[in-house]
């Protein structure tokens, strides 16, 4: 039986032919590093896509590299403020490198973030890193107004991880023009379906640009070609995002019908609270892979990526099988 892989929030649909052909062209240049002109072109495309000037865009082989670099650069003298749960690499990197850390717990049923609590938790020198939508809850934690309010504190650095922005439509990227202490981190891994290419980027205010100027970035040729083509012809991405959002709502409804405790989401995944504490392991034994969130949430919480309709049906069937069999 094939494994149903719903544990990494990947796009379940393969890239379109024109992107695959472009990546193939990159193969013929594998003896060369990506040239500066090609990288410049990709930054221009990303800037146009984000609605900012090319000057603000920094490339990276995956957005987690950017987060790591930012924490390295800024955490020494600052309190790092995150939410809990959050994107695990952010938590781990902060845990390893930041001398002072504060996590703000997100709790059911809404997993929301109280703006006043966030602001009151900030020390004068803070580095705030929040994923929006949050991973794994799928909740929108920040709106533009709140980001602008925090960024008004000039000593505070604000990083918003918008890895799932295309599924929520909520962004504060354009605020970087007026707020040098703001940085938005994104990726082409998710909505663009290029997880295997690992192309991340920052839309960075001046403070971050200065720190990241020494962060030399090249990209693999195939990634550069694929990303450039994907941005030049992004209609497929928008169609896929629409499909995933429709499938997400269909899956959410199906799980509710089964009596599952499943939370609304603004991303390409759903968070569930199962009564079976080792649900993730039990599903894995049935060849359905989901993400066990017990390293950040109580036992029984799982995150399931929205897959194809068939994959989602298989997940719901297996989930119900485990619940009924326990």
């Amino acid at each position: 039986m094939n494994v149903v892989k719903l544990d990494m929030n990947e796009m379940p649909y393969a890239p379109p032919q024109h992107v695959i052909v472009a990546a193939g062209k990159g193969l013929s240049d594998l003896n060369r590093y990506a040239d500066a002109q090609g990288l410049r072109q990709l930054r221009e495309l990303l800037a146009e896509y984000a609605g900012v000037s090319e000057h603000h865009v920094v490339l990276s082989p995956g957005s987690d590299f950017l987060l790591r670099e930012i924490i390295h650069a800024f955490s020494r003298e600052r309190q790092v403020v995150t939410v809990s749960p959050s994107f695990l690499p952010t938590v781990q990197i902060a845990d390893r490198f930041a001398p002072k850390r504060l996590g703000i717990r997100l709790s059911p049923p809404d997993f929301g973030l109280d703006p006043d609590l966030l602001i009151s938790a900030l020390e004068p020198l803070s580095l705030v890193i929040i994923d929006n939508p949050n991973n794994p809850t799928g909740q929108i934690l920040l709106d533009r107004g709140l980001v602008a309010t925090i960024a008004e504190r000039q000593e505070t650095l604000v990083v918003v991880d918008e890895a799932y922005f295309e599924f929520s439509g909520v962004t504060c990227a354009q605020l970087v023009t007026d707020h040098p202490n703001l940085c938005v981190v994104r990726t082409l891994d998710k909505a663009f379906g290029l997880a295997g290419a690992r192309v991340g980027y920052a839309i960075a205010g001046e403070v971050f640009l200065n720190a990241l100027s020494s962060f030399y970035v090249s990209l693999p040729q195939t990634s550069l070609y694929a990303a450039t083509e994907a941005l030049q012809n992004s209609g497929y991405m928008r169609r896929n995002v629409s499909r995933i959002v429709r499938e997400r709502e269909r899956l959410w409804q199906a799980l509710r019908t089964l009596g599952a405790c499943v939370y609304p989401s603004n991303a390409n995944f759903l968070l569930l609270k199962a009564q079976v504490p080792d649900m993730a392991q039990r599903l894995r034994e049935l060849d359905v892979w989901v993400s066990d969130m017990s390293n950040q949430l109580p036992l029984g919480y799982i995150r399931v990526s929205v897959g194809t309709r068939e994959e989602n049906k298989m997940f719901a069937t297996r989930y119900n099988q485990v619940v009924c069999g326990s």
Binding site: S84, P85, L88, V91, Q92, D95, R96, P99, K100, R101, L102, G103, I104, R105, S107, P108, D114, L117, A121, P277, D278, A280, Q281, R284, D292, S294, N295, Q296, L297, P298, L299
Partner: protein
């Protein structure tokens, strides 16, 4: 040299579940039988031994009959029977047999049962030897249990492989209240368990990067000690995290009691409300250091009855220091209080910082109903 591992099965554990009863305490076992309940523990015990891989390194000591011996023949391990039991078994059998097994050289005790069984094991052997709890009860709340029979097998293998052990909580569940859909639990004691990342998928990273529970508690202790003021009276509540702080200070703390520290000296051991209030007469500045109970998050009202409403009021909300390892705190949706004084519970509600490491905190909501 094979490790000597004891096995005790509570044959009635979990029988209430299939017939809609919550637990088999009191007269509920007979009621479960009337309703057609069948034993749960045989399946759990077989699942356990099906997944233990270190078979060449284990010799079993088993309880007689349905409390262990019945399963031992089929698992392919050398075994000997310890003790005697009658036709019907009870908690006293569990306690007596656990004691006898340790006296016969058991280095690890496996028990199959529920929270009540864990309390019996706790009464009998405390933290003398590590244990592995295989969950077979209707609803398991004590953190001392493995997640499943398969996870328990991993813990047995880890013990054979020589991993460290750590204390985990045993809770006292009021089954009558639980049947009324009220969770009334309090801290009962601690058992030693092999320290393994038993809940995580293969290859899944933990949130506490590469740190054991013991190391995390030491980091919390270092942070708290660094912040301590010699002019302030500190009341340390029950639990291993609070104890890690006093251990690092070179003080001897009771695991389940409240102990008082002033200027680096132990000034009160296992004090009750009166003792605490007497200490307050000489100290105008006071702080309480508490850790939430695993699984339900209570910081006041369960497990630390010495912290009465009067004591808490005299200390003040702003002088309450909450500590807990990140792995433990991550298992909680929120913190809870149930002091019996509704106005105080309301005053304690809101957000507090929980120290989860050295200069590392988590902001959590305190709820009271």
């Amino acid at each position: 040299m094979r490790k000597v591992v004891g096995l005790i099965v509570n044959p009635v554990a979990g029988m209430g579940g299939s017939v809609g009863l919550k637990g088999t305490d009191g007269g509920m076992y007979e009621r479960a039988l009337e309703l057609g309940a069948t034993p749960v523990t045989p399946q759990r015990t077989h699942q356990l031994f099906d997944h233990v891989s270190g078979r060449d390194e284990i010799r079993l000591l088993v309880a007689p009959g349905k409390m262990g011996e019945h399963y031992a023949g089929g698992v392919g391990l050398p075994f000997s029977v310890v003790g005697e039991i009658g036709e019907e078994t009870s908690a006293s059998d569990t306690k007596r047999l656990a004691r006898e097994m340790v006296d016969h050289g058991a280095e690890l005790l496996i028990f199959v049962g529920g929270d009540g069984t864990a309390r019996d094991i706790c009464d009998a052997v405390g933290t003398e030897v590590p244990v592995v709890g295989v969950p077979a009860g209707v609803k398991i709340f004590s953190a001392a249990f493995a997640l499943s029979a398969r996870a328990a097998a991993d813990m047995v293998d880890a013990f054979v492989g020589g991993v460290d052990v750590t204390e985990e909580e045993v809770l006292d569940i009021d089954e009558d209240a639980f049947r009324d859909d009220r969770l009334a639990s309090k801290l009962y004691g601690y058992l030693l368990v092999p320290e393994v990342r038993k809940f995580l998928q293969p290859g899944k990273a933990a949130s506490n990067v590469g740190r054991s529970a013991t190391e995390t508690k030491q980091a919390i202790a270092a942070h708290i000690i660094e912040e301590m003021d010699p002019e302030i009276l500190y009341l340390f509540g029950p639990g291993t995290t609070a104890k890690a702080i006093t251990d690092q200070m070179g003080l001897s703390k009771t695991l389940l009691g409240v102990d008082a520290v002033l200027a680096g000296e132990l000034v009160g051991e296992d004090v009750n409300e009166k003792g605490i209030l007497d200490l307050f007469k000489g100290c105008s500045q006071r702080k309480i250091v508490v850790t939430p109970i695993g699984g339900n998050g209570f910081i006041f009202g369960r497990g630390s009855k010495q912290f009465t409403p009067e004591v808490i009021r005299q200390v003040g909300r702003e002088n309450i220091i909450v500590v807990g390892t990140r792995d433990k705190v991550s298992q909680l949706d929120c913190l809870r209080v149930d002091t019996g004084d509704l106005a105080l519970d309301e005053a304690l509600s809101g957000y507090v910082e929980v120290t989860v490491g050295y200069r590392e905190a988590m902001v959590m909501e305190v709820k009271y109903r």
